[in-house]
């Protein structure tokens, strides 16, 4: 049988909070070969009813487990990765009554210090913004078909099961 692409339960939008607003889910390119534009992403996450905005950026470290990293490459199975990221954002938006939820992941070659993934959450209060943000990045890292390959200074490379952040 074909299973739901993300194995997610159906999205239920909570109406319990009096401040809950049917959130406009940002739809744009969640997988991108171009550098992530944090200023533009922060601008998009902005919402007059949001008192708290949390941004997470996963960046390429110069070392991993004691080995000097030259650069990384990320690969994605895009049709599924895009669907799953949208589903994760929609579920988090409903669960934490977010005003906005944005995620964008790079693919291709990344240099040290570049951002590989950005997650931005905006909510009325900061607890929700933090919790939703961490939930989203954890699920992206564990569930979404995006892989990292580390290229080391010694010329070797390794497909990573281990997170860089």
């Amino acid at each position: 049988m074909i299973r739901s692409s993300s194995s997610l339960p159906p999205v239920e939008v909570s109406q319990s909070s009096s401040e809950a607003i049917q959130p406009p889910l940002e739809v744009f390119q969640v997988i991108s070969a171009a550098p992530l534009d944090m200023v533009e992403l922060l601008r998009r996450a902005h919402h007059p009813a949001a008192g708290a905005v949390v941004l997470f950026s996963g960046e390429v470290r110069d070392h991993n487990k004691g080995r000097a990293v030259d650069h990384l490459e990320y690969e994605a199975y895009q049709p599924l990765a895009v669907k799953m990221i949208h589903a994760i954002l929609a579920e988090a938006t409903a669960k934490w009554s977010l005003q906005s939820a944005i995620a964008q992941h790079r693919v291709g070659r990344l240099a040290i210090g570049e951002s590989a993934v950005v997650v931005i959450t905006a909510a009325a209060h900061r607890r929700e913004a933090y919790e939703a943000n961490r939930h989203i990045i954890d699920r992206i890292k564990h569930e979404v078909p995006i892989w990292k390959c580390e290229y080391f200074h010694d010329g070797s490379h390794q497909w990573g099961n281990n997170c860089n952040c």
Partner: protein
């Protein structure tokens, strides 16, 4: 049937190739792939399988003209 593999699976197989024999489900497909490269057996056991419409499990009946995507574990962390 067409097979697309990603990430570390490319250390064991071509990224895209045609499987001569038809596998009728994912378990059968795994056995065919292990025959091609038995070094990949452990890795294949931790992979997920998908067709264009989404993830599939062993109950999904593969057809000759399916393209099967083989998805290694996510980068995690």
């Amino acid at each position: 049937m067409k097979i697309h593999v990603y990430a570390t699976l490319k250390d064991y197989f071509s990224s895209e190739f045609e499987l001569a024999t038809v596998a009728h489900n994912t378990d059968e497909l795994k056995r065919h792939l292990v025959q091609l490269n038995d070094q990949a057996e452990l890795l294949l056991n931790s992979c997920r399988f998908a067709v264009e419409e989404g993830f599939i499990d062993n109950d999904y009946k593969l057809k000759e003209n399916d393209t099967v995507i083989i998805i290694p574990p996510a980068s995690g962390g």
